[in-house]
Each structure stands twice: as structure tokens, then as C-alpha cells.
Symmetry: C2
Subunit: 755 residues, 2 copies
């Protein structure tokens, strides 16, 4: 390993990076002011927005309270667990940076959501008053704030750790990344369950049973549905992208140190700082023009401007900052070329994934049209064509991502893993713009909901909002694709860090690796199967959690229709907060099982089967996770847009049998694309980071003088036991909930007979 | 490697094994005579059975003609490809045994199907004349014949190769296994597309549009549906189980030689011969008793009797034949214990998988009941609950299979892979009974179809046939679970052979393995992602092939209703053969793409990325494939039985909204459980065998003096090109077919408007 302390010049550079990251926060503040200055619309709109704001804030407060306890437990565990390299200061630093990472992740989610619930009503108001351009601008700038906060906090945390801890910063940053990823996973899962329980529940009773349109104020689940958009798509996604950003940086710093010493740590920070500049330019460049063919045009313009700025500045940074000859790793090209080309690969990957996802989920392209056409033969063919589309599209995405990793591998030579991590950084130089376009989605969606519910919208305004919503659907699908790509790159890189940790720990225990990491060990094959299994299990749990929670929403809404007969003719007001409450409680309860699974399964495999199978487990999880995530997201996105296509008049339009078939497809797709699919991204990283953190302990108990098989097996059994109990408890719940409609749905058309 | 020639005593033992395998064929002949002696029913029944027989035979003949060309190409390639060890005789032997394996696989499928299409009508006739016991016996004995032929041919091939080629037999047997697996995969995919295209097409037009019941003679697709049961569930499954049996034996012989020399090769043959004896006992023990609670009772009795006989005899064989001390591999236990415990693990795995699959797919258990209940909230919740059930159940199956591999790993010590292969043999000692219970499914299903179509059945007879059909559904699900378990064990073991081949080839090229097989190589992560991707792609292709072919069936049946208005009041006869013809042509055309993918993707990865990524590719495919196969099979099975549960009167019974919801679930499940899911089993093995066969060539072109990067890259690009062309061509087809109903379905209720 090259000399590992920061030089004076490097310190200055890191200080500059820190200043730039704070500037991002200042720019966010400037954007906030602009958004909040806009008109808040009619009294009715404000009332509805208020209800959404309160519901969303109440949910997040309760979620943070629950997660706070969990965070404290993990904090204590981190203080206890050994680190491979470094003393107690490193250990304490890692634990504290875990808390900081968690806090930042939560803050990004909280601020993003708070602002989104304020932006939405202003977008609705602007659609009425000023038309397309101002409402687009407000929606996008709201997203821009979240983007700036995401990258500002992510980069400042990394820079701070490097300034404070110098050569032990990578280990400290494991904590930072872990805190961010863990919180993000919980927010993703919890928010995802909330939003889809409300959405599916609202659709099942509203559209299907009562025959009232979406977002109709008579449906008691509508406010919950809008709250869900914010806690799931907005808070969850923002936290998720924050952790992608943080974890990728962390992986790059860890590997940069291994291969190039301090220079290797500073370079990724420079790339990220350049990303901030590029994102500011990109956000400012995103303004709808008179000649734009669709709402995607200005968004793409912003993205590509940002990407171009990044590339030019990264080229400059690579060829001035990086050395032209390597004195450490055995490279195929010079460090300068390695740095630039790796980042370039990442930028190109972001652009191609954007195109690919667009192809598979846009209404105007063949795949969605094919699904739309299959609605002529009923719901079964809609489901089948959506599933085969999703399965196939996952493969193309996997090929792109695999191609990027392989490209980085070829360029990287002896420092292949660092090149992979830099490609991840490249993917995220446009993170500010990506988060902005993602947040654009729920803000527009909510604006439409608020306008619809208030009734205070003219025809032109309604058209504007529908257009914005359609654009938002596409941007949401795109950011999901990019998020999973970052997960694979970050996980592959982290995986290298895991290897390094194991090497160091074995060295200390006076042992060597042998064939523990060999693919042909049968116990490694078992590890890989288990890794893939966890992805399947997690997806199944998330989907069934939504079904269960949606069942309760259905029951509550039906009950309100029954006990408040005035709802249907607008003489009685439904109790919106009751549904918000159900979603809040259920989603917090339901996130426990998948969350525990993610944290404890690697513990069980690592301590139970060993560090070799744990490595294979991670590979299995990365492989199956990549495909499953894209499959779920793209099937769901395509069904959603096939429905929109029929609603726009194809195959008989609204009310036709074809429409009914696509509504079923859309409902199936909801938990696919907004709960299970996107949560796989933080899942993969949480599992990788858990593996990284327990690696020294696993090795310590396996070999050398502290080896203790009994303790190892006990820890593994304990982890398995907690998972089993949690699964059993959640299955128990399904009995109660599944039974409820049967017993009391006497008012509805569906009366049950026990089998 | 221990001394590798067969001793005189061992030769005698192998001759005895050969005689036992021929005795299995003799016993099959005895059973055939008994089945064919039974009454063939009324004239109408015979007529219908005749039509099914002709359709099925015509399909298989055409399939074999197509596959014959393919087999010859592969034969020539095998003559060209180098072998790691051994001269031209080995190479020629391998190529010839490839043809023998393919021929045996095809014969098992052909004979099984021919007999099933003769047994079905006799079962229907017996239900009328004699009631439950005789019709059960005929159905099961028909299955028994197929079981005996499967294991008789499988074992005789292996014994013959060992007698003829002695120490080079393992390499020759690669060809035998490959031939069997390749044919089986094509028969599985082709038959699976045929059967589900006909089934889904018949349901969509018949049940959904025209409102006529299943198996109604007015539906032009009914004969095709019955033909499909035979070419898919019967011929396809028989060939599939044959290849499972053959490949598992091959893997055990290869690894047995590596670890224990001739003794290691002879022992698996002894286990298989014992399996034949146990299967004969099991088949004879399977007779319904007066006190049986359900049709599953005698079947389970037969299975467990067979398993018990196996265990006792295997214990005797282990402790008399195997040495008590190892002189080669470094073992944790004596070879005797290793042999017995490994086989024991396999037998236990078969039994537990049977229980687990039963739990997730039987009508009387909670999971299916939960799906049934979800039908109250419509098709979307039926689909969601089935998918989450499938995802979760896959994990339990993966845990069982993983546990078995790990158990064998622990017992095996230095010969872990051999222990895994022996566990596979253990799993298949009951193969005769397993094939019998599997074939029982389509025979009963067909018997019911024939009785229904002929109208010549009394109420009691109809009840008998419904009962048999329900039992058949469960046995089919169980055998699918066992088949995928054999795939994982065989693939893990083959994977060890791959490793050995690479080692030998590197040695010859004067190179060493280095970290090429290390999990932490980024290019190996790419390989694993690609392996998982192929499983997803293959599944997606199979499902969309069914959708496309079903679309054509729908079009044809609608067209017949339109042009022959007399069909609905029975004055005109539908043209059944037209639909059979469509299914035949389409399934043969559609199997090309998934088939080429399976064969060429490992070629592309191996030559393109190298032998390390190819190993990772196999691990990724095994991990994702196991889970995907069980997910698809169990979701499909559970939906099927949820529908049956509603049809039996739950939640409103036939004609209710709940019933409509479960019919949609069943239709979605059809290609899951009968096309994509079961085809993953041979897919995994074909890919492993292709890797094994190309291993020496890949190494030869990569390292040493014959290294030739250009040629390597050209081969990889060629393989990729063929896959791409094949995919593009099959996508083109979807335009034509998807468009057809729109243009001409003017007689139906679903009229399309172009978007």
C-alpha cells in the first residue's frame, strides 16, 4: 500500500471539496426560497395540501422514532465489533459516522418530503394561473432542492471524515455508508408499503367496487394515497439516492486508498465536487422551451448538459491531478487514463440506462403498445406479457451494467475494483439532476391529486397536470434503473473491500485465504443460492406486506361507505385520517421482517457457514438482485403506462374491458415497481456493508487463537431464530387481516362463503 | 488419482448392473401388457383417443425430424472439440454416446407418450365400468412403465459406457448426459409451449369468450389441449427425468473416478441398480386400499416403501462394497459412511421436498386457501398473493436443497463433490416411482378430457376421474420440485468436474489457475450476473412464446366459430387438426430461441470472458435458476388449485366473480408451471455440460502456445450474433401475431381500435 497520509496540498483540496458541498446546500436554500414564494392556490387546495403535509409528517416522525431505537442498538454493536485495522478511535469514529449517515439519510428524506408536500400545491396553483411553463418549473425546482441536499450532505460527510480521520477514514466511512443505507432501506420498504397499500386499497374499493374515479374525494383512502406518494416515492427515493451516493463514494475511497493511497481517496471527492457543479448547471438548464416536443425534452436537456459539463471537468481533473505513472498497482493504462475512462464509463452507463428504461416503459414505444394490445384478450394476457417484458428487459439492463463493470475491469487492470468504484462515481456525477427528475414525479402526481380533489382546476390546468404526471412516470422509472446500476457498481466495489478486509484479518490471525473464495467450493455454491434466495424472499415479503395492508385499507373504506351513507352524495366527509393511520401503523409493523432479514441473513451466513460462503452469498444477491429489481420496476412501469395508453382512448378507452384488464395489470404492478423493486437497491448495499463490518469478527472466530466454533454457531443460530420468529409473527397477522373482509363486508357485492 | 482401471470383480458387478437395468425394461414390458389388455371403452372414446394419439405422434415425429438435424451438427462439433484427457477413441466415443443419450431421451419421451395416449382411454373406460380402484391402477401402471424405461435406459447406458471405455468412461458419458439433457430441454420447451398454447388459447376463447366449459367438444382447441398434455407433461417430463437420472449418474461417475478410482465409479451404478429394485417394489406396492383417505395415500405409500427398500440395500452395499479406509482423498469419515450418508441425504431430500411442495400447492393447506380468499378482492390480489407465495416457497425449497448440498459437503470432506453427486443418486433411487407418479398426472387429466368430450360417462365415473385428476395435479407439482433438486445437485457436482477439466487443461498448457476462480474478481461478478440473466431471459422467452402461440390459437378458434356457425349447436364439427397443426408449427419454431440461448450463451461467456467468468456464470445460473424454477412451478400450481377450490364451491363457486378471478390466476400460472418453470431444470444442466465440453478448448485458446485471442473473440461474437438474430426474428413474429386478432376478429366481442 502506498504512503497513506494526506499531503498538505491534498488537505487543501479536500477543504475546497467541503466548501463546494456546502455551496450545494446554499444553492438548495436559494431554490427553496424560489419555490416557497410561489402562490399556494385556493383555500380548498391549501386545505388538502395541509392534510397531506400533516399525514406525511406524522408518518415520518413515527418512523424515525421506531428507527431511532434500532439505530441506537446498531450503534452499540458497532462499538463492540472489532475493526480490521486501526484502534478504538476508528471504532468510535465508525459508530459516530454511522449515526451521522443515518441522520443525513433521514434528513434528506424528511426535507425532501416536506418540500414536496409544499411544492405540489404550488404546482397545482401555477397550472391554473400560469399554465405549463411555471408549473413545470416549480415541480422541477422542488426536485432540484432535494437533489442538491442529497449530494451536498453526501459529499460533506465524506470530506469531513477524510479531514478528521485521514488514513483510517475508509473504515470510519463504512459506518457512514451503512447508516445511510440502513435508514434508506427502512424508508424505502416502509414508505413503499405505505404508498402501495393506500394506492391499491383505494383502487380496489374505489375504481373496482364503488365505481368512482381515481383521486375522488369520496374515497376515504385518497389522502392516504397522496401521503403515500410523498413518503414512498419522495422521502424513500431521496434517502435511497442519498445512500447510493454515499456508499459509492465510500467504496471509491476504500479502494482508492488500497490501490493509490491518499490520491486515490481524494480523486473520487474531486469527481463528486465536479458533479455538484455539473448538477447546478443541469438544474438551471432544465427549463421548458417553446419548441419542446414533450416534457421529457427539457429534462433530457438538463441531464445531458450536466453529463457534458461533468465529463469536461473530470477530464481536466484526471489529467492534472492524477499521476501519469503508477508507483503501486500493476496497471494496463496510466492512472490518468484509468481515472477518466472509468468515470466516463459511468456517465455513459447512466445515459444508456435512461434510454433503455424509456424504451421499455414509454407509452409511445413497442413494448408498452404490445401490452396494451394484449388487453384485448383479457387480464391474463396483460399480466403474462408484462411479466415476460419485465424478465427480458432486466436482461438488457444486466448486460449494460455487466458491460460497464467489465469495461472498468479491462481499463483498471490491477486496480480493477477501483475502476469499478470510479464508474459508480461517474454514474452519480449527475446525481443532483437525477434526484431532481425523480422528485419531479411525486410532486406532479400529487399536484394532480390535489387539483382533482379540490375541484378548483380549469380544463387547461388539468391538461397541464396530466402531462406533467405522465412525464413524472417516465422519470421515476428511469431513476429506478439508474439506482440499481449504482447498487451493482457500489456492491461490486464494496465486495472488493470485503476481500481486502478478510485478507487483513487472516493476516493478523496468521492464516491465508486458500481456496475459501473459490467458485468451485460446494459450500460457496450454497452461499450463492442463499444470496439469490434472500432477494426472492425479500421481494415476496414486501409484496405480501402490501397485500395485507391493502386488505385492511379496503376493509376500512368499505366500512366507512357502510356506516356513513352520506359519503356517496357528498353530504358526509369520509374520515381520511383513519386510513392514514392504518397505513402508518401497518407499514411500520411490516417493515420489520424484511429489514431484519437484510441485516441478519448475512450474519447467519457469515458466522454459520464462513467468510467464503458469505462472499458467494453477496455475489448471488448481486446477480439475482439486479435482475429482480429491474424486472419488478419495468413490469410495473410498463403496466402503468399500458393503462394510461388505454385511458387515452386505445382499444375502447376508459370503461372498456380492455381498460379493466389494464387496471388489473397496473394494480399488480404497484407493489412491484414501488415497493419490492426499488427496495432491492438498498438491500444489496446493506447486506454488503453488514458483511464488510462483520468480516473481521467472522475471521477472528474462525481461525487463529481466538477461534470459537461454539460462539460462531450460536450467533448464526440467534440470527436465524430472530428471522424465523419475525416471519412467523408476520404470517400470523395475515390470518387476521385476510379474514376480516369475509366477516364484515356484508355491504359489498363480494360476500364470502368459508370453504 | 487412484489406479483407474476396473478390476475383474468390478467388471462382474457392472455386468450385473447391466442385467438389472435390462430387467427393468422387461418389467416395463410386463406392465405394458397389463395396461393394453384393459378395455378401451366406447366407440366415441376410442375415436377421441385416436385423434389425440395421432396428433401427439405427428408432433413428436416432426419434432424429432427438426432435432435430428441439430443433433447431427452437435455430433460433428463433438468430433472436432478437444477432450482434456484421452485420445481420438474417447472423442469418437463421446460423440457416439451423445447420439445414444439423445436417442434414449427421445425414446423415453416417445414411448411414454405413446403409452399414455393408450392408457388414458382405458382409464376413462375403467372409471365407467369398474370405478376407482381399476382406473387408479391403470393410470399408475401406465406411469410405472415410463418410470421403468427411464431408469432402465439410463442405467444401461452408463453401465455400457463403463464396460466399453473403462477409465475414459466419464468423458464418454459427458456425451451421454449432454445428449439426454439437450433433447430433454428441447422436448420440455417445445412440449411446454405446445401444451400451454393450446390450453391458454382454449380457455381464453372457450371459457372466457364463448362461455362453454373446459373440454367441451365444440371448442376446436380441445384435442390440441389433450395432445398438449401428452407432448408436454408426459413426453417432456419423461425425457426430463431421464436426463436428470443420466446426468446425475454421469456426474457421480466423473467425480467417483477423481476421488476413489474404479470403486467410485461402480458404487453409483450399484446405488442406481438398487433404485431399480426399490422402484419395482414401490410400483407394486402402490395400490389403493379400502381405508385410504385420499388418492395421495397409496402413492405416498409406494414412494416411502421404495425409499425404505433403497436405504436398507444401500446401507448393505456401502458397508460391504466400499473400503473402510480411504487411500486417496482426505476424508472426514470412512468411505463407507460417506457413501451411505450421502445417499441417505438424497433420499431424505426427496421426501422433504415432496412434503414442502404438497404444503404450498395442496387445496387443503393454508397457502392455497389464502390465495382462494384473495379472490374476493379480484384478480389483482389473486395474482399478487400467488406471486408472493411462489417467491417465498422458492426460498424454503432453496434452503432444503442448499442444506442437502451443505450436508453432503460436511460429510464429504476432501471428496465433498462426490458426496454431493451421491446425494443426487440418492434423490433418484426412487426415480422409477417418481416418474410413475408424474405420468399419472397427464394420463388422468386426459382420461377426464376424453370422458367429458365423448359424453359416455356416468356420474360415478366422472367423480372418479375428477378425483384422479386432482391427485395428478399434486403429483405433477411434487415431481417438478424433485426434478429441480436433482438439477442443483447434478449441476453442483458437474461444476466440480468442470473445475477438474480446467485444472487438467491448464496443466497441459503449463499454466496454473491463479485467482481465476476467485469470487472477488470483478469479471467473475459479471459472469454471475450473466448467469442469472440467462435464467430470466429464458423464462421471459418461454412465457412470451406461449402468449404468441396462444394468440394464434385464439384467432383460429374464433375464426372457426365465425365461419362454421353450426358448431355452437353441434351441427358442425370443428376442425380440430387445424389447431393441432398451429400448435405443432409454432412450438417447433418458438423453441429455437430459448434452445440456442441455452447452448450458445455459455459458449459466448466462456470464449469471450474466459473460464473464470464461465464458472461464475454457472453459479449465477444455478442460484437464480433454482429459485426461479420453484417460484414459477409453485405459483402456477397454487393458482391451479385455488381455482379448483373455488370450483368446489368456495366463495361463490363456479360462475362467481371469485371464480373469474381464480381462472385468470390459473391462466397466468399455466406457462409458469408447465413451460418456463420445468424447462429451467434441463436448462441448468445443458449449460453445465456445454461448459464442461468446451472447457479444454477455452483453456487451449486462452493460455499456452495455442493461445489465440482473435479466434476466441470470433467464436464468442459468432455465438452472440446467432442469439441476437434468433431473438430479433422471434420478436418480429410477435408483430404479425399480435396484430392478427385486431384485423379479423370482427365476429367477437372484443373489437380493437388501433391506438
Amino acid at each position: 500500500m502506498p504512503d497513506s497520509s494526506l499531503s498538505g496540498g491534498d488537505s487543501v483540496l479536500v477543504w475546497i471539496v467541503l466548501v463546494i458541498s456546502l455551496a450545494a446546500l446554499a444553492f438548495a436554500y436559494y431554490l427553496v426560497r424560489a419555490v416557497l414564494a410561489a402562490d399556494q392556490g385556493t383555500v380548498k387546495m391549501r386545505e388538502i395540501a395541509q392534510a397531506v403535509q400533516e399525514g406525511a409528517a406524522a408518518y415520518l416522525r413515527r418512523q424515525f422514532r421506531t428507527l431511532g431505537v434500532f439505530a441506537v442498538i446498531v450503534f452499540v454493536l458497532l462499538l463492540v465489533l472489532p475493526v480490521a485495522d486501526g484502534g478504538w478511535e476508528t471504532r468510535v469514529g465508525r459508530a459516530i459516522f454511522f449515526l451521522i449517515g443515518a441522520l443525513f439519510s433521514a434528513s434528506v428524506g424528511f426535507i425532501g418530503m416536506t418540500l414536496a408536500t409544499r411544492g405540489n400545491v404550488r404546482v397545482a396553483a401555477a397550472a391554473n394561473a400560469g399554465g405549463y411553463q411555471p408549473s413545470f418549473r416549480i415541480a422541477y425546482r422542488t426536485g432540484g432542492v432535494v437533489g442538491m441536499i442529497t449530494i451536498g450532505l453526501g459529499l460533506s460527510g465524506a470530506a469531513l471524515a477524510l479531514l478528521l480521520f485521514d488514513e483510517t477514514a475508509p473504515i470510519v466511512l463504512e459506518g457512514f455508508g451503512f447508516g445511510g443505507a440502513l435508514l434508506a432501506m427502512f424508508m424505502r420498504v416502509g414508505g413503499g408499503i405505505f404508498t402501495k397499500a393506500a394506492d391499491v386499497g383505494a383502487d380496489l374499493v374505489g375504481k373496482v367496487e364503488a365505481g368512482i374515479p381515481e383521486d375522488d374525494p369520496r374515497n376515504a383512502a385518497t389522502i392516504a394515497d397522496n401521503v403515500g406518494d410523498n413518503v414512498g416515492d419522495c422521502a424513500g427515493m431521496a434517502a435511497d439516492l442519498f445512500e447510493s451516493y454515499a456508499v459509492t463514494l465510500v467504496a471509491a475511497l476504500i479502494l482508492g486508498q488500497v490501490f493509490f493511497g491518499p490520491v486515490g481517496m481524494v480523486f473520487p471527492l474531486l469527481v463528486a465536487a465536479i458533479g455538484i457543479i455539473a448538477s447546478v448547471v443541469g438544474v438551471l438548464a432544465t427549463r421548458p422551451g417553446k419548441t419542446d416536443s414533450s416534457g421529457m425534452a427539457p429534462i433530457n436537456r438538463g441531464f445531458f448538459t450536466s453529463a457534458a459539463v461533468s465529463l469536461v471537468l473530470v477530464a481536466a481533473a484526471s489529467f492534472t491531478y492524477l499521476p501519469s505513472i503508477s508507483d503501486g498497482a500493476d496497471l494496463a493504462v496510466s492512472p490518468q487514463v484509468l481515472g477518466f475512462v472509468s468515470v466516463f464509463i459511468g456517465v455513459v452507463l447512466a445515459a444508456t440506462i435512461q434510454q433503455l428504461t424509456g424504451y421499455f416503459t414509454e407509452t409511445s414505444r413497442k413494448p408498452v403498445k404490445d401490452i396494451g394490445r394484449s388487453s384485448l384478450t383479457g387480464p391474463a394476457t396483460v399480466i403474462l406479457s408484462g411479466i415476460s417484458l419485465g424478465l427480458e428487459s432486466a436482461v438488457y439492463a444486466a448486460l449494460l451494467i455487466g458491460g460497464a463493470v467489465y469495461g472498468a475491469f479491462l481499463v483498471g487492470g490491477g486496480a480493477a475494483l477501483y475502476a469499478v468504484a470510479l464508474a459508480g462515481c461517474g454514474l452519480l456525477t449527475t446525481a443532483g439532476v437525477i434526484v431532481a427528475m425523480d422528485t419531479f414525479g411525486p410532486v406532479s402526481d400529487n399536484a394532480q391529486g390535489i387539483a382533482e380533489m379540490s375541484g378548483d382546476i380549469d380544463e387547461e390546468g388539468a391538461r397541464v397536470l396530466t402531462d406533467l404526471d405522465a412525464v413524472g412516470n417516465t422519470t421515476k422509472a428511469i431513476t429506478k434503473g439508474i439506482a440499481i446500476a449504482t447498487a451493482v457498481l457500489a456492491a461490486t466495489a464494496l465486495f472488493g473491500s470485503y476481500n481486502a478486509q478478510i485478507g487483513v484479518a487472516l493476516d493478523e490471525a496468521g492464516d491465508t485465504l486458500g481456496d475459501a473464495f473459490s467458485l468451485v467450493n460446494p459450500n460457496n455454491v450454497v452461499g450463492a443460492v442463499l444470496g439469490a434466495a434472500v432477494v426472492f424472499f425479500f421481494s415476496g415479503l414486501a409484496i405480501s406486506a402490501v397485500s395485507r395492508a391493502a386488505g385492511r385499507v379496503v376493509f376500512e373504506v368499505r366500512e366507512q361507505f357502510r356506516t356513513k351513507p352520506g359519503i356517496m352524495n357528498y353530504t358526509e366527509r369520509p374520515d381520511y385520517s383513519a386510513v392514514v393511520d392504518i397505513c402508518t401503523k401497518d407499514s411500520l409493523r411490516e417493515l420489520a421482517t424484511p429489514g431484519l432479514l437484510a441485516v441478519l441473513a448475512p450474519v447467519a451466513v457469515g458466522f454459520g457457514l464462513g467468510f467464503g460462503p458469505l462472499a458467494a452469498y453477496l455475489v448471488g444477491a448481486i446477480a439475482a438482485g439486479t435482475l429482480m429489481a429491474v424486472f419488478l420496476s419495468n413490469s410495473g412501469g410498463a403496466w402503468d403506462n399500458a393503462k394510461k395508453m388505454v385511458e387515452d382512448g386505445a382499444y375502447g378507452g376508459k370503461g372498456s374491458e380492455a381498460h379493466a384488464a389494464t387496471v388489473i395489470g397496473d394494480t399488480v404492478g404497484d407493489p412491484f415497481k414501488d415497493t419490492a423493486g426499488p427496495a432491492i437497491n438498498p438491500l444489496i448495499k446493506v447486506m454488503n456493508l453488514v458483511a464488510l463490518i462483520i468480516a473481521p469478527a467472522v475471521v477472528g472466530l474462525s481461525v487463529g487463537e481466538d477461534a470459537n466454533t461454539t460462539l460462531r454457531v450460536l450467533i448464526a443460530l440467534g440470527a436465524v431464530l430472530v428471522i424465523v420468529i419475525s416471519v412467523v409473527v408476520s404470517k400470523r397477522r395475515s390470518v387476521v387481516v385476510g379474514g376480516a373482509p369475509t366477516a364484515t363486508a356484508d355491504g359489498s357485492t363480494l360476500t364470502a362463503t368459508a370453504p
